[in-house]
Amino acid sequence: MEYVIEMRNIRKEFPGIVANDDITLQVKKGEIHALLGENGAGKSTLMNVLFGLYEPEEGEIYVKGNKVVNNDPNIANSLGIGMVHQHFMLVDKFTVTENIILGKEPTKSGKVDLKSAAKEVQALSDQYGLRVDPYAKVEDISVGMQQRVEILKTLYRGAEILIFDEPTAVLTPQEIVELIQIMKKLVSEGKSIILITHKLKEIIEVCDRCTVIRRGKGIGTVDVKDSNPDSLAAMMVGREVNFTVAKGIADPKESVLTIKDLVVLDSRKVPAVNGLNLNIRAGEIVGIAGVDGNGQSELLEAITGLRKISEGSIHLRDSDITNKTPRNVTRTGLAHIPQDRHKHGLVLDFSVGENMVLQTYYEKPFSNNGILKFSPIFEKANKLITEYDVRTPDAHTPARALSGGNQQKAIIAREVDRDPDFLIAAQPTRGLDVGAIEFIHSKLIEQRDKGKAVLLVSFELDEIMNVSDKIAVMYEGRIVAEVDPKQTTEQELGLLMAGGKRGTADAE
């Protein structure tokens, strides 16, 4: 059997992690092949290898049966491989046509022949049903049209194999319907498609076959018509990697955080959180399950005072913290373990000690009348370093020099030590090793047992299942279901996260 694309035994390492470990992917001509895996499973790395952005340490790539060495996107283009990037590679100030022809411009006596280019774009657009306005500027068109421009870019270069990297992550439901039609049209015209996704619904709807990877390893390839969401979810999540977290039964008390009818706009001024209600009580961990881009980041930014709230209110105990400054919210009793510890959690060039007081440096005893008091600061830092087992040579070492797990421990130490009523943990274990993960989970549970309210946001389903006392499923800016982790399954959660209805998994 000849494959249009065959990647054999690919291995790709980055410092400290193996992103792809012996993965094989075979794509037939004219099929839509899904590449399924959780966030961080290694899907994008594998596709960047195929597109020539990364060079693999081991493994071979065959295109239409011929072995190729592909270390440059130019080579990939000439091999007929095109990539529709998740973050669009478009020049905002250029027109649709200019973006499509860039680097391969038709000319007439030295001048870019925009007229015939636009005609060609129009022709391609008609052939594949990719509705665009060739003369519109990219900054003025919708996200859906921008994506169609990305697709046209690959077709204009004669791509036979198209890679779609999480194409639905940024689209509205209507745009998703349209995209699915486009993909079907493309394969009917003889193109082959690799679809990177973690949405089961899409796979069932459009894909022929599906290769699953998990934590950098290839799990297997299945025919979609022989599988169902349950079996795919099981392959994606992997039952055997359950972390068992030792915890007692929750004893929730009075409510601590109350969110009412919250509306928050994202940077494109579109509601990312749209009428959300949530209530978190003292002594419970509420886990938010949801696919990335359903408003989780905006929700957290709204709670912590970093993003403006358009409508609705947030109360922390009796205080209204709606649209208060971050400092104000923190002082009311909130601690925050942010999603991106390098960007938001730490000042990497500060010492560990300075990072430990990043929220409290202005208070006594760490300063007095605006003058920093270093002995209390480093006394505190050393105490926290011991208590939270932060592995660092000393408190004067820059935070940059610490491993990810120890950086995260330092953040947790700083936040938890302030003894807040309410703790937000956003993807607290992303990219960490097993030991650090266990430590962090136990600290979250310890906080719960001390009577704090904890909000956990994670894209790792098993983390949500194991750590939370209640799971709130977030979809398109709303909490669409609240379930008891003991009475649900990963399959059911997966379906709810993809916008499915409750109970469908049981019925199938």
Binding site: L346, L372, S403
Partner: protein, 350 residues
């Protein structure tokens, strides 16, 4: 890891200075000058006698302050190219107080310096506000503010303070930093008390940055605006403050000229160049207070020594400008040094 960082911190400026001098030597060689004779003359012109030492130290004072101004803003992630303009308004303000106010020296001198600082702060705060409010890049606005300062100060002198010789009147004795004593012990150089002001300013800069909560916030914003915002620090406020404080140093640098070296202000056809030299000083001094003092000593020395180099070895003083430019290039390209060190130390993570 940290050891290596410290090594790089010293290595980069040191190697850059040596490379700069080396290429300067090659330029002299191909231009038919004797580089050895020239560098000996240069060196003697810096420390070869009390007069030269006095002149070098006098030259250092405004350079230290201008360097502190650039370095302070750098620490908050801001590039203050406007030191030159802030210096001019500071110069004018100090001379204004020196000429028009009557007070005993103990009040008059601090008052004149304070006026210079306030003028510099206001001039520096404008680009800060534009940056915080309108997201306008400070590099462009500070350059524009330099020219506005140049023409405005000239006009103010012409309109209100003109004395014969295209300059202001001389300041009153009570506002002067000049010191017959310092002049006497340095063979009648133009050395004045300004160096004390500059050194105190260096200590203050260090103190603000490393010992106060304000400095903590400024440095946090400089390293990582996002994390600072998450930690509840008001980023906009810190940007404006940083530019204003930077402007204070620059303004006081101007008062060194007004109250010390010249005792008046001339109508300037062009910039003094001190503000731009401050960029070189800060860069070479890795934006630390002690580094700035050392960098100012080097560049101040080079500028003064160049005069001796010209008269003894016949090499035009401008060669020193070329050497300084080369040093800046090398420090700015320290990427290579860092990159090399990183390659060597790969896997050195804890």
């Amino acid at each position: 890891m940290q050891n290596n960082n410290n090594k790089i911190k010293f290595l980069v400026p040191l190697v850059s200075v040596l490379l700069g001098l080396l290429i300067g030597g090659i330029i002299m060689l191909v231009s038919d000058y004797d580089p050895f004779e020239a560098y000996v003359a240069l060196f003697q012109g810096i420390i070869g006698g009390p007069y030269f030492i006095g002149e070098t130290i006098r030259q250092m004072s405004p350079l230290i302050l201008a360097g502190l101004a650039v370095a302070f803003a750098f620490r908050t992630g801001l590039f203050n190219i406007g030191v030159e303009g802030q210096l001019l308004v500071g110069w004018l303000a100090s001379v204004y107080v020196g000429v028009f106010v009557d007070a005993p020296a103990i009040i008059h001198i601090p008052l004149a310096i304070l006026a210079a600082g306030v003028a510099g702060a206001l001039w520096g705060a404008i680009p800060g506000i534009l940056k915080a409010k309108f997201k306008v890049h400070e590099v462009i606005t500070t350059i524009m503010m330099n020219y506005i300062a140049l023409y405005s100060t000239n006009e103010i002198i012409r309109q209100f303070m003109l004395a014969p010789g295209e300059r202001t009147k001389t300041i009153k004795e009570t506002a002067s930093l000049s010191s017959p004593f310092l002049q006497k012990i340095t063979d009648y150089s133009t050395l004045h008390y300004g160096i004390i002001v500059a050194l105190i300013a260096a200590v203050i800069m260090w103190f603000i940055l490393w010992r106060t909560t304000l400095g903590f916030e400024l440095r946090a914003v400089g390293f990582n605006q996002h994390a600072s915002q998450y930690a509840g620090i008001n980023v906009s406020k810190n940007i404006v403050l940083s530019m204003a404080i930077s402007g204070v140093f620059a303004g006081i640098a101007g008062s060194m000229e007004g109250l010390g070296t010249y005792q008046y202000m001339t109508i300037n056809a062009a910039f003094t160049g001190v503000g731009f030299d401050g960029i070189a000083v800060a860069l070479l001094g890795a934006n630390s207070a002690i580094g700035v003092v050392l960098g100012a000593a080097l560049f101040g020395g080079l500028k003064i020594g160049a005069l001796n180099m010209q008269s003894i070895a016949g090499v035009p003083t401008e060669l020193v400008g070329v050497v300084i430019a080369l040093i800046i290039f090398f420090v700015a390209c320290s990427y290579i040094v860092h990159w090399l060190m990183n390659r060597v130390n790969k896997g050195g993570k804890i």
